[in-house]
Symmetry: C2
Subunit: 334 residues, 2 copies
């Protein structure tokens, strides 16, 4: 080995005085190895600073220790949290995640998926059920395990882990009705991209309708959710419908923005106008009045998904749906 050559298995094998295959087995902890041999090999690896070439390994074994992860966005803190759960579940294993960001675009998802599949991942973790036909076909052909996260309101390809957003919306309305609110408003964001926000909205409307109520006013910001969008959209809603007594927001980011609007406009939160979010983000719970909202267990969703996937290398007969549930956080704003 010259000074400028990256060491390979062969170099390690030669230095340790064993065959390449033996080195390989030491590294992968596979098959019986004499203690003496093992320590010689380990020493050789350290001496050379050998780093295995996984491309070669993956090629030879036609498989890899990669988990492909497809997330719609990283600016919405919810998804980094899911990713943390995924990392947590993988921490004790030899698997590594490989992350792609789709910007809520099914075609982009398809592109990224194909480049992820090119690495022969052991499994794919993706978000929601909105996939192109080509995406579904690729997933089927590759026969990798697939987890679809966040949502359980549809039939999964293999595993789904999440919560029923429809039920969450429904529960929101029931909770607010029980607390005496009657004149409801809704502040949302672009739900072409965010199908789950729409499901919550539908659940909300259904519960209202069952109680003989309707939304007095609603307004959707035409773009992704953000605190600023929540603040401005609530401002606009209030000027159009000053008589509402409770506003449901599409999520906590929007709701926190709404809270700031109330603060600036001198609207007494809860007494004059109740605010309700979704997600249970930290930021909502640190407000001078903790935000009333629903906790979705993002970390748990990521973690559970990976655990389920690693249970078996091949798809089981039956599809699996894991409901990670949700809790109402009473808070002080509704």
């Amino acid at each position: 080995m010259t000074q400028y050559e990256v060491p390979t298995l062969a170099h390690v094998a030669k230095l340790a005085g064993v065959s390449e295959n033996t080195v390989s087995r030491v590294i992968r902890n596979k098959g019986p190895i004499a203690d003496d041999t093992r320590s010689r090999v380990v020493k050789a690896i350290e001496t050379l600073g050998y780093v295995p070439n996984r491309a070669a390994g993956s090629l030879a074994s036609s498989g890899s220790l990669l988990i492909g992860v497809l997330l719609p966005s990283l600016s919405n803190i919810v998804f980094p949290e899911v990713l943390q759960g995924i990392h947590a579940a993988l921490a004790t294993t030899a698997y590594q995640p490989m992350v792609g960001v789709t910007n809520y675009d099914a075609n982009k998802e398809q592109d990224i998926l194909s480049s992820l599949l090119a690495w022969q991942p052991a499994a794919i973790v993706t978000t929601g059920f909105d996939h192109t036909d080509a995406t579904r076909r690729m997933l089927d052909n590759s026969r990798v395990r697939v987890a679809e996260l966040m949502d359980i309101d549809a039939e999964p390809i293999d595993v789904a882990v999440g919560l029923s957003h429809r039920q969450a919306g429904y529960a929101t309305a029931r909770h607010l009705i029980k607390r005496g609110y009657r004149r409801f408003g809704y502040v949302g964001h672009d739900w072409v991209a965010d199908r789950r926000a729409r499901l919550r909205y539908e659940g909300l409307c259904q519960a209202l309708s069952e109680a003989g109520l309707t939304l007095r006013a609603e307004q959707r910001f035409d773009g992704p959710s953000s605190t600023m969008a929540g603040r401005d959209t609530l401002a606009s809603l209030c000027s159009r419908a000053p008589d509402i007594d409770a506003v449901v927001f599409s999520n906590d980011d929007m709701a926190v923005g709404g809270f700031f609007h109330c603060l600036a406009a001198g609207i007494a939160v809860r007494e004059r106008l109740a605010l309700f979010g979704f997600n249970g983000l930290d930021i909502g719970q640190v407000l001078p009045m903790p935000l009333s909202t629903i906790r979705s267990n993002r970390f748990l969703i990521g973690k559970t998904a990976v655990e389920k996937l690693l249970e078996s290398p091949t798809r089981p007969e039956a599809r699996v749906v894991v409901d990670t549930g949700f809790d109402i956080i009473e808070g002080a704003t509704a």
Copy 2:
């Protein structure tokens, strides 16, 4: 090809009636190809649903289109933003990022780095200058390109992209002094992990000292930064040192928490107590009073780093330092 076999180059080549190499060249857009041949190949690829095996490609060409990314955390929104910049710069290329999360732990960074290097990435993007010796050695041996992000207050391995945190701290103090504040407090978080927070602190102290001032009181939360930590730590600082007129926070998360404390405790922000953060996060700018802070250009840092790395596949002679700068956001809290 039987029904349950994944198609390879050979299958495509046979179907299109050309050699494997020709197919490979069509896929990689390399070398001259007759239009007629190209379309036959493309059609064959589509017919078979062929997905190239990158492990094989990477092995054959001893290189890959991967960029290894090492981030200390995903819960601090700053890093997802950097990652977005990285994604943005890669979007027009065939490169893919492969992300690892180190939890601010240099040993974990080392472990993850070695598994990233096992995929023969074209470049590594990491955070800060705190690496173990083994990490430095691995990076040197592999001779991949390396970008160290966020910070430019030390000598980089190859490329550094970020801002001078020392100067940012210094500028904070100068700004506040100019506005008439004299009795300073500091609220921070665990800076064993977050070296950059400490650099800002040092710059701050230096500027104060040059102006004949000192920190009247300071308190550090023993854990990662968060809104809640900021709120509670400011509360504690205020009870110990009620006479201060300005508080510098280690970052915006902490500062927003501080703002909430003032709100809840009825402290008039700016009139009685000025608040100053760092980062220029959205959340700070949506408060009823926009937070006075310093904008660090996270997205730009990620984007620039990737652009610099892709300029050349090998390390240039001279090390490169890109200062993405910072701006003072005047805001309304200081």
